[in-house]
Symmetry: C2
Subunit: 231 residues, 2 copies
Amino acid sequence: MDIGVVVFAQAANQASLGVAMPSDAPQPAALAAALAGRLIHDVMGPLSGVISGLDLLGDPTARDLHVDALALATASARTLCEDMAFSRVLYGAGAAPMDAASLEGLARGQFVGGRATLDWSMDLATVSATAGRTLLGFVRLAAAALAAGGVVKVNARAASPGMVLSVEATGPRARFFVETLTGLAGAPFSEGLIGKWAPAYQLWAAATSSGGTISTKVSETGVVLEARFPG
Amino acid sequence: MDIGVVVFAQAANQASLGVAMPSDAPQPAALAAALAGRLIHDVMGPLSGVISGLDLLGDPTARDLHVDALALATASARTLCEDMAFSRVLYGAGAAPMDAASLEGLARGQFVGGRATLDWSMDLATVSATAGRTLLGFVRLAAAALAAGGVVKVNARAASPGMVLSVEATGPRARFFVETLTGLAGAPFSEGLIGKWAPAYQLWAAATSSGGTISTKVSETGVVLEARFPG
């Protein structure tokens, strides 16, 4: 078992973390810095691929590799561009409602080239900006948990009052970091807030600042992420 | 005169903004989102250059443009990589002191290919992590203000107690956004915190959370950014 990872078959009786107000919340500057650090980390991966490809393309002694090099650089640049487009919506500032079709398109992008599949169900034509961003954040976390395959089930529906959205990740080898659950609960991190957990904490901070609540539930085969927003 | 821009010859009698505690500070999630948005924006510029170059390289009917296309893609990728390396230090999480030579190297990187010059003077062998990041943030803002040329004068020295650092940007056509001064003062933004002003606000938030203070002074020909940190 990887350290710090919930492997669900072994962690089925872990209690729901629910939502807690942190007593020692990170300073605003610390959250912003951690999230910036995470974004930079996410850029550097595909950017290395771009640079490796361009280096080869600029090397006249490696002409036999130029086709592969161009393919590597292009695929890496495209990955980076799609990741930034997703993050731009996820961390966007706009307050306009988001429509179901756009959200589904962005969500489906998280499954391209992966082993997990998306089961999408949304009874609402639009959701609030914060609800839409929370949904996208949940989907990204769920897709990442299912690198070995599985199903991410998305459901968004009206509640009384407001709306509720749930994202369930189920897979035979689902892996979810304990610290991600900590972040989604807005709970303090034993070793401080680092970039790796910043997106989960940011989801909690953004949802609660809009009057929403987040809860998580660990089951035998996966995890359910749920958020409720007032009307 | 550009709207929202301090053109120094016309704004010499603007009072120092000093430091003020904001009464309606942005929520932590809003600051993190704004800074993330700014970083994504900074990525998309050079990334467009990379993608334009790669598109041309993949077009067999544009073989006569392939040398220029490779040069464009490579220069854009390098710009992006250097920008991310700078930002990784600027928003870094480490608490270890930073040495003068590394700081000077990063600062000089902000002037490559530009018209402004750097006049560097540091009496200290190392500074605290927060002081080092504040210095780098000041230098980036100062260099951006001097796109038309000028001198950025950096000074860091021991004070009693602690240390003081100042970055002075002087140039015949120095341009500094009023909102950058607002952000450095931790003051509320009349139209909310957007990505463009997030780096300045983040500098204020990070410095003050470490017990530091920031002040700014506008003169005939430029601006002085100053920070003090306890020992």
